[in-house]
């Protein structure tokens, strides 16, 4: 009998102890601890330009962006990608010369003379796993996630939903469509190689 009533007593007291915490929380309620009305207001992103002496550390995960004027077509990012969402095609061109009709700049901002013309640089952001592994090996720092330490180069973009899945493929190559065929290597060579082999 005593046990029965002590159980009831304990239930009530321990419940009240818990209720006290929620009441204190309610009394302290202020703006910022309630649900954020998302599209109207956004949670502030952590400030990352806090005296980091190394610029090459790309500590943000958002949409990938490629600065094609600096890309030398070395395929390092394509090889680093664990989910194979980067597709690059390159064509050999004369070293270090501009090709205005293909929007090709011969020399990168780091002073490297380009040997290759990138005719295709597609990133399928619907497949991307945001691991950042493609960013680190880039010798020209031309592939990066938008925003954060790179916000001077490209504004942050992490809301890029699309109605169509094919719209999630971002095509960065600057070569105009009518020019692509001109730079595609003729298939004749392939046949020759097969015969010789």
């Amino acid at each position: 009998m005593i046990r029965y009533f002590s159980n009831i007593w304990q239930s009530i007291t321990t419940l009240l102890i818990g209720m006290r915490i929620t009441l204190v929380h309610l009394a302290k309620a202020r703006k910022g601890i309630v649900t954020l009305q998302y599209p109207e207001e956004r949670w502030p992103r952590p400030e990352r330009n806090i005296g980091f002496s190394h610029d090459s550390y790309n500590v943000i995960r958002s949409r990938l962006h490629v600065d094609m004027d600096d890309c030398i077509g070395c395929l390092k990012c394509e090889r680093a990608c664990p989910v194979d969402c980067i597709h690059i095609t390159t064509v050999k061109v004369e070293k270090g010369t501009d090709i205005p009709e293909a929007n090709h700049v011969g020399i990168t901002s780091y002073g490297t003379q380009k040997r290759l013309l990138v005719t295709r640089f597609d990133i399928d952001m619907s497949e991307c796993c945001y691991c950042n592994l493609c960013v680190y090996p880039c010798p020209e720092d031309c592939i990066f996630m938008t925003g954060g330490p790179n916000s001077s180069k490209q504004e942050i973009d992490y809301e890029f939903s699309e109605f169509n899945r094919s719209d999630m493929i971002f095509r960065f190559a600057k070569v105009p469509k009518d020019q692509v065929e001109k730079y595609t290597p003729p298939p004749k060579e392939k046949v020759k190689g097969d015969v010789a082999g």
Binding site: N7, Q10, S11, T13, T14, L15, I17, G18, R20, I21, T22, I33, R45, P46, R48, I50, G51, F52, H54, Y57, N58, V59, I60, R61, A80, C81, P82, V83, C129, Y130, C131, N132, L133, Y136, M145, G148
Partner: protein, 382 residues
């Protein structure tokens, strides 16, 4: 009419056993898990877990990517505690390759791993309360877990799947001011543990619901290979951080909380739950010591290999994640891709003993038992 006809024939009155299907789409199965529960009335007579709804061919997939590229996939196994998974893989790979990482890397790894342990236990505590019908503690736990995720976002840009701990180092150093922010968080967090205790742990209704329920005896736990807080809840003092110290865990002073049966039998749901609460305090203690001792100078990339190409051989290495012993068995044939990679999942062994401990309890208790085991289906199916 003799007296014989009046004796109770149990087989005559016993009804048919009913098969109840819990899941795969059920909020209290903590993922995509199907439990086939055979019940006699409301008493459970047999539970068969059906897994594989989240199978992603993790182990086979690892054989087709290079060693660096495995890390994002390891992240996605135990997605609640990615840092600890990264840590386990990095420790295994460094043992295989014979790399010695710098002191600073060790400290950074311990700090982020313990922070992630706190975040993972907060989720376990919150959802366990949710399973037994207490909604409020869940919100309080998530409020504090959010702060840890914010810290990680500041650290590496990602909130859940970090890819931060690499083989031979970490992807980059702590940002300036990060150590102070972690101190700030610990000062904020320590009094909050008392809040969870007041809200949930010592609530009489919660105790009645969980203490003595689903008792996992120590011998059964060991024979099933259960590890982590579930094993310690049964009163076995086993923690890899203490028993087989890896990294620099032997430098820190901390206790291993075990289930004492303060509210009932040792090994009940409440004991497993309370071990997690006490581990929060221990993790805070370790993090504080690591923050005090971390060397300010030092390169985090010193031991980072240009191309990971381990020598021929094999290694089995295990580390303590919030769920238990996470083991990696890696066979290398000298190529840049692993020949075989086996992951020993702690959540898998925890789930495997559910038939043993949930038999004889009511259906509602099965939910409590499942919640107290703190399984992550991403790791079980992998």
């Amino acid at each position: 009419m003799g007296i014989e006809t009046l004796t109770l024939d149990r087989s005559a009155i016993q009804g048919e056993e009913m098969v109840l299907n819990i899941g795969p789409q059920h909020p209290s199965t903590h993922g995509v898990l199907r439990l086939q529960v055979v019940t006699d009335g409301e008493i459970v007579t047999k539970i068969t877990p059906y897994i594989g709804y989240l199978h992603r061919c993790f182990e086979k997939h690892c054989e087709n990517v290079t060693y660096e590229q495995v890390i994002p996939f390891v992240d996605r196994c135990d997605y609640i505690a990615s840092m600890n998974n990264n840590f386990g893989y990095a420790v295994a790979m460094e043992e295989l390759m014979g790399i010695e990482v710098s002191e600073k890397v060790h400290y950074i790894r311990v700090i982020v791993a313990e922070l992630n342990r706190i975040a993972s236990h907060l989720l376990a505590i919150g959802t366990f309360g949710l399973d037994v019908g207490a909604f409020t503690p869940f919100l309080y736990c998530f409020r504090d877990r959010e702060r840890i995720l914010d810290l990680f976002e500041l650290l590496c840009g990602a909130r859940l799947l970090y890819n931060y701990i690499w083989v031979g180092g970490v992807s980059h150093d702590f940002p300036i001011g990060f150590v102070e922010k972690v101190y700030e968080f610990l000062d904020y967090f320590e009094p909050k543990i008392q809040e969870y205790n007041d809200l949930l742990t010592f609530n009489k209704i919660f105790i009645e619901r969980t203490a003595d329920v689903g008792v996992l005896p120590a011998d059964v736990a060991i024979s099933y290979g259960v590890s982590g807080p579930n094993l310690r809840g049964s009163g076995v003092k086993w923690d890899l951080r203490k028993n087989e110290p890896y990294s620099i865990y032997n430098k820190f002073d901390f206790d291993i909380p075990i289930g004492t049966g303060a509210m009932g039998t040792v090994g009940g749901c409440w004991d497993r739950y309370y071990v997690r609460i006490r581990e929060l305090e221990e993790s805070v203690k370790i993090t504080r010591q690591a923050l005090d001792q971390i060397p300010r100078e030092g390169d985090v990339h010193a031991a980072l290999p240009k191309k990971i190409r381990p020598p021929k051989g094999h290694v089995y290495s295990r580390t303590e994640t919030p769920r238990g012993d996470l083991g990696f068995y890696i066979i290398s044939d000298g190529k840049p891709k692993p020949f075989r990679l086996k992951l020993r999942s702690p959540a898998f062994t925890a789930l495997s003993c559910i038939n043993e401990i949930a038999r004889g309890w009511m259906i509602a208790d099965v939910i409590a038992i499942l919640g107290s085991l703190d399984i992550v289906l991403g790791e079980i199916d992998r």
